[in-house]
């Protein structure tokens, strides 16, 4: 029973890290930038490359946390910018095209086989008959540190305030002298850092192949939709809730039909509360 809970918490931490980067970009884009999932994928592959070059896992992770933001920033500045003025459908298709291009580039470079780097912590703690791996502890603590850091950044720093202002009303923000372009750049840098971190931890625990991005994207979407689009507390609750409920469904009902049960729960949830657990009030929709 508690063992199942611990497993769920470990997945919840990963889902939280996946979703945080997308939440950051959602503040300014108002459209889920779901090509983020392939950025997580690339983050994992960067770590794989540097570990194979003989570096320590943590150094490789830090390098990937530097490379991913650069990539995200360049993408935003040189590829995404011409598409801001389009309709939703066109913007979605543009994002999907970036997603496909990145996914298939990864497929061409690293092939379809699973790639892993081995575990980053082999410690095991036993409390009674519950076994907690060092990986679980590290993932949960990093994810909690990450969400607190994100919250502090948004509340306390100048650029965090700028992001919140743009998120509430981009026209009013630009009238007050906030540069929308540089705010977008900063959010993409942040989302890149989260992508590198999440990708590195993911490849440290599981193995990755290019099509794992499709799994990552569905988890991100469930978390983001349940959390009510860009609410940090909601993201925390939804990510851990998803991880825990998944592992309980898999343990008690059926692991094969896990997705089916989850699907029906989410349909019912959305019919009751379509705007997520914690509704965000007073924010303008894009377009």
């Amino acid at each position: 029973m508690l063992q199942v809970l611990v497993n769920g918490l470990s997945f919840g931490g990963l889902y939280l890290l996946f979703a945080l980067g997308l939440v950051a970009t959602y503040f300014v884009l108002k459209v889920p930038w779901f090509a983020h999932a392939t950025l997580i994928l690339l983050g994992g592959y960067f770590t794989y490359v540097f570990v194979n070059l003989g570096l320590n896992f943590w150094i490789a992770a830090i390098i990937s946390m530097v490379l991913c933001p650069i990539l995200a920033f360049l993408f935003e500045r040189y590829f995404l910018r011409p598409f801001y003025r389009l309709t939703h459908a066109q913007f979605f298709v543009a994002i999907f095209s970036f997603y496909t291009i990145m996914q298939y580039s990864a497929y061409k470079i690293w092939g379809i086989s699973n790639k892993g780097v081995g575990t980053f912590s082999s410690a095991i703690f036993s409390i009674g008959d519950i076994r907690i791996t060092g990986e679980t502890v590290i993932i949960i603590s990093i994810s909690l540190v990450a969400i607190v850091a994100m919250w502090l950044f948004l509340k306390k720093t100048r650029s965090g305030k700028a992001i919140r202002a743009v998120s509430q009303d981009s026209d009013a923000a630009s009238v007050l002298g906030i540069s929308i372009g540089s705010t977008r750049g900063i959010t993409f840098l942040i989302s890149g850092v989260f992508a590198g971190l999440a990708g590195s931890l993911f490849i440290g625990v599981h193995s990755i192949n290019p099509f794992i991005a499709d799994y990552i994207i569905i988890k991100i979407f469930i978390v983001v939709i349940l959390s009510g689009f860009g609410n940090l507390l909601g993201t925390l609750v939804a990510a851990y809730g998803l991880g825990i409920s998944e592992s309980f469904i898999a343990y008690y009902l059926s692991s094969g039909l896990k997705d089916v049960f989850l699907f029906f729960f989410i349909i019912i949830f959305l019919l009751i509360r379509p705007r997520g657990i914690f509704e965000v009030k007073g924010r303008k929709e894009r377009g």
Binding site: T100, F221, I225, F229
Partner: protein, 320 residues
Amino acid sequence: MDKKIYILGFFLIISISFISMFLPRYILYIVAMMCIWSIGALSLNLLLGYTGLLNLGHASILGVGAYTSAIITLKLGASAWLALPVAVAITTGFGVLLGLICLRTKEMHFAVITLMFGIMIYFIFRTWEGLTGGVYGLSNIPRPTPISLPFITIDFKSINVWFIFIIIVLLLIVFFSIKLVNSKIGRVFMCVRDDERLATMMGADVRKYKILSCAIACFIAGIAGWLFVHFLTHIAPESFSFSFSFELLIYTLFGGINSIMGPIFGTFAIRSIYEILNPMQEIRFLISAVIILLVIRFLPEGVYVSLKKKFKTLKENLKK
């Protein structure tokens, strides 16, 4: 006017069926598949272009229709003709469900929720092995039983008959869509798309019309799914992954929304490009991604609509 269309359609069918006798099987197969996908794109466009609802999980609705029909014919042993109304009823039910969700959400959230639904339905197809056959899908799905008319028997084993049948269905659906768009209902749809408050003010029940639009689109998608499964006689979840929902959207945007012929043009154009680049089958999504990026960057209205406008101005210039 109406009489003209009937005669034109009749001669079109006759000439296409005459030409189809001399074409190789491979070409017939490809064109039939294009027609099925263009029915899907057309139904998506009724939703997106005319009511302004962005459904990003449309391929999964096709998938629901296809899987329903496959399961009914395989597990219950019913005839494919009996499975058609059941499959279409179930997809229409999904459409009503979509409509109910759409009433409670704003545009952006509706798009993301449908995208998530699309992916989840795909995962259900993949994981519910007892019912859907898992990753390998279902095969040996029976073709529709022959129809006996007084003079001839229409046997669906031959690809020529299938080809003509699919063309007739496509033409009927195009005809129905044009009628629908030009009717009172179609005008209310467009009014809802442009300004919801205005539509309410004019006395239209926006809720009812949104659900109706979703139901009609899913009804047509169900027919496309039924054609898909009984034409191919095998089915796998990969055909309904979320890439294919976007594929449908790409066809629609390539041709241009707000037109009936646009999605059909887009489907034929992009799928022909795939066939030309056939040896590079595995990177076809990459190719369509690059093409659509260029199109929405430089021709945001869509190729078909832009070409139509060009011809119009050219004609006017010639008159002068």
